[in-house]
């Protein structure tokens, strides 16, 4: 059975269910649980649910210590970029202790953070920094694009014995979707094929998945059948599903809201250029944000972002309907 929920409520449902199931799950962060009548505090008490000062280094660092000591903390970080002030804890602490201790300790924790609030949040709050967490041995990175995945991936993240960066796209916050009832786990490292197609593979993440589906719709009317893949987790990355699709279609377009040289798209391009080369009939085209600090002004912000038109144009290029320009 399923029920309809906004994306953000689906995440919430997973956290609540996991907290009910396992009393070592903690939930804390800034500007939550500040009053006596917060539902989380009501349900789980002030020991397990706490408001913190604006101290991301301590927040994430404390999550590490609590995790080493046997708990499963979920840190509410609001915006992914706030992790930058505590990046050492994310990159060079949490994922290192398992290895450095020779397997003696584990550090199960979830860093929950929104990203990509390209709605006038300007230069410092709009980044898509997910790729910065890729390639860090010991660290997992999750990026759901549907309400159901948002729930299922959060539950999996909380149960995972490793540190997980859970990145939810702000523009999806109120998007509704069908969400399975009760316990629901989506495995890490398994991409979802959002739409099947035979001519071109598009891989997109987060908010760009819907843009890609929109473009696919448009292209279908031109007779171009696009397969749309959503990796769902950036680490582990399901290259297998992507390679299988490219094997079928021979063409790959990558969509990413990050800038071109800081994107998950480029990592996927690298994998396919090595392991899927013989399937490729056309260049791998990336549709990313332009190389700009995101401007405040609406038309400028829209101009630097990837969008349906840019995706359509990229697909047309790889199928030869438009010339590939360098």
């Amino acid at each position: 059975m399923a029920h309809e929920l906004p994306f953000i409520a689906a995440i919430d449902e997973a956290i609540r269910l996991e907290m009910e199931r396992d009393d070592t799950v903690l939930y804390f962060g800034q500007n939550m649980a500040t009053t006596e009548n917060e539902p989380y505090v009501d349900a789980f008490g002030k020991d397990r649910v706490r408001v913190t000062p604006i101290s991301e280094t301590a927040e994430i660092g404390m999550a590490i210590g609590a995790a080493m000591a046997g708990f499963r903390p979920v840190v509410e970080l609001y915006m992914a970029e706030f992790m930058l002030v505590a990046m050492d804890q994310v990159i060079n602490e949490a994922p290192r202790f398992r290895a450095m201790s020779g397997g003696q300790v584990k550090v199960p924790l979830v860093l929950k953070a929104g990203f990509g609030f390209t709605a006038g949040w300007a230069g410092q709050h709009t980044g898509t920094i997910g790729a910065m967490f890729m390639g860090v041995p010991g660290l997992k990175v999750v990026m759901p694009s549907t309400a159901a995945d948002a729930k299922g991936l959060m539950a999996t993240a909380i149960r995972d014995d490793n540190p997980v960066v859970y990145l939810h796209h702000y523009l999806l916050t109120l998007e509704h979707g069908e969400v399975p009832d009760g316990e629901y786990l989506v495995p890490f490292g398994e991409a979802a094929i959002r739409r099947e197609g035979s001519d071109v593979t598009i891989v997109a993440t987060g908010w760009t998945v819907d843009r890609a589906l929109g473009a696919a719709e448009q292209l279908a009317s031109e007779g171009i059948q696009v397969e749309v893949i959503d990796p769902r987790t950036l680490a582990p990355l399901d290259t297998h599903t992507i390679l299988e699709s490219v094997d079928k279609t021979g063409r790959l377009v990558l969509v990413d809201q990050a800038t071109r040289h800081a994107s998950a798209a480029t990592v996927i391009a690298g994998e396919v250029a090595e392991h899927g080369f013989s399937s490729l009939k056309a260049p791998i085209v990336q549709v990313t944000a332009l190389d700009a600090t995101i401007p405040y002004s609406e038309p400028l912000e829209a101009w630097v972002m990837p969008n349906e038109d840019k995706i359509v144009a990229a697909v047309q290029r790889v199928v030869g309907a438009a010339p590939v320009t360098a």
Binding site: Q30, N31, T34, T35, V51, T52, P53, I54, S55, E56, T57, E81, F82, L84, V85, F117, A119, G120, W121, A122, G123, Q124, H125, Y170, L171, L172, T173, L174, L290, D291, A292, T293, P295, Y296, S297, E298, P299, L300, E301, A302, W303, V304
Partner: protein, 343 residues
Amino acid sequence: MSAPVELDRDRLVWMYEQMLRIREFEERVKRTFIEHPGVIRGHTHLADGAEASIVGSIATLGPQDQFFATYRCHGYPLARGTDPKAMMAEIYGRKDGLCKGIGGSMHLADPSNGFLGTSGIVAAGIPHATGAAWAAQIRGQGQVVLCFFGDGASKQGAFSESLNIASLWKLPIVYVMENNGYNVHTRTEQEDANRAHGEDLSVKARAFSMPGVTIDGRDPIVVYETVGAAVARARSGEGPTLVESQMYRLSAHGNIIAPPGVPLHFPEHEAIEKFGAPEEYEAALQGDPVPAFRGRLVADGALTADEADTIAARVRDEMQAAVTFGLESPFPAVESALEFVYA
């Protein structure tokens, strides 16, 4: 400690007018959400309640001095002489904006007036201001830097790291912590160990062997005298001071956070909305620094009621003109998004 310049009548009236200009500007920003929905995007933070602290602080600066602020940054440049037209156009994302529509409300800058920049990351501007103070020290021309930030920011590592160095190097800087009692909807006593123990936040200065003082930031004269003395101290090479300026934020932290489609607006103050404590908010309104200062100047005979009304009318016109200018200014060419990425 004594302030550098005596406040004569003209200066007092000037200060009042600046306070009123800030209040009026912020009111216009707030009304824009209702009167021109969609024109302001993202997250906007207002300075109402902080006017006395802002004007009292900025009034202590000489022409070569500099300052840094946070995302809550509309007040300082107004008091410093920045054109409100350019500011409003910036907040509306227009071509004639102070930052060409690229920065927006959270990132005003006016280097020609000593306002070097604002970070939207809590406490990130504290080391910037400290670095500018180091530059001033090297330059050796007696410049001073004011560094504004919130109570919440003092819980970020950047705060402690910077104040230690400023004290160690005797940098010419004054740290003005605007304690408005809240970090969004977290009350100071919920996140600050000093406050939770019944102490003032200025005791943090002890950790840096630096003078720390707590004042009523709703009184512009007290602010002027305290910050002025600290500026004089800094200018004379004796080093930095931490001033905790206590006040109450009179609007909510910022407009509501919502994805496109949901109309943005300013909700009620968190005391009401979150804590169900309208009496707290009402009490704060009693201490509103703008009418309080007006009343005091009128009572002291520094200002007649007529003069006050004339000022109010002038300020209203000025800010109405800023709104009109902002609304009429065109959007920037989209390509300008790439124009200022590199110097």
